[in-house]
């Protein structure tokens, strides 16, 4: 059975989001749900945890490369804010590698395809979200 990984991306509208017009590599066996952010620095730990709670196998945050950030410190702050979420993921039993930060410029379309492949590899390596697996198992048992 081919697993279609579910990935949620929080993407800064000033840079990385521009690349999404090109879309990820068509052969990538993941489904990416994009959430637009006014700035990567606006990332909220509640939103990231909610994505995992709803079954995401991986979550990524995309901001500008640090030296290109339209809000000067937004990208740097986004990575700082994620420190707490990485810590929480480790505590709840989700591999912290399921959450990743990518600095991506607005002119890096091909880079996005590369990232999509990297995410696919990541999801294959980490396996499905254990919370979703458990829920699915429970549903099957109930049927």
């Amino acid at each position: 059975m081919i697993h279609k990984g579910k990935v949620v991306g929080f993407v800064c509208k000033f840079c990385a989001l521009l690349n999404f017009d090109l879309g990820p590599a068509p052969e990538a066996a993941i489904h990416i749900e994009v959430v637009e952010l006014p700035c990567a620095g606006r990332i909220d730990s509640r939103a990231v945890l909610t994505a995992f709670e709803h079954g995401a196998d991986a979550v990524f945050v995309m901001g500008c490369p640090t030296h290109e950030c339209m809000n000067i410190n937004g990208s740097r702050r986004a990575e700082q804010r994620l420190l707490r979420v990485w810590e929480i993921l480790g505590s709840v039993g989700l591999n912290r590698n399921r959450l990743v930060f990518y600095p991506v410029s607005g002119t890096e379309g091909p880079h996005l395809s590369q990232i999509a492949r990297e995410l696919e590899e990541r999801v294959v390596q980490l396996g499905p979200n254990p919370l979703r697996l458990r829920r699915q198992g429970k549903e099957l048992q109930e049927q």
Binding site: L49, E53, I88, G93
Partner: protein
Amino acid sequence: MIIAEQKPLAEIAESVQDVAKVLVVGCGGCVTVCLSGGENEAEVLASALRIKRGIDGIAGEVGQVTVERQCDPEYVAKLDTAVDGIDAVVSLACGVGVQFLAERYSKTVVVPAQNTKFAGGTVEHGVWEERCGLCGECVLAATGGICPIIRCSKSLLNGPCGGSAQGYCEVGKDIPCAWVMIYERLKKLGREASLCEIAAVKDWSKSRDGGPRKIVREDLRL
């Protein structure tokens, strides 16, 4: 304000692992300002607990709600409906709020999600420092507005001690010597001569040595 720091998630999760219905209660007071126990943190904690309990296979529900302050009975009373049918309440308030909840909901398990640390303030975003020792008899008028009770590691009233070097305390290289600060502040005010007066022995019965403290204002009672 009261500064608190969240307990490790594993400890919080363990304290409610044997119950099904959990309610995380945030507090809109001090812990909201110090970003450890307000509405946002209540949502994050509830979400983290749901994920952990889901992965661990613990059946039940984890909800969350935030009240204006957990240290006021009239605000705590607003939780009556939410707490009804709940097996355990996880309080994100300081130790005061936890106890007010435990007093009102005597048949419900109430556990703290925070370690209450100190009375202090925000010195920069994400950094809080202790400023008041809650000693019950303020001496700041004599010390240039710098508290020797809490900012001097030994709470000396006639400092500094021999452990003061280059303006710092021997306890830690990042701890400024309170008595150096006091001297410099009084010097700026032209009042350093006041340091020649020996401070009297402090009456610690007004602090914790006198047992649990209580203030009654008859003019305000209903």
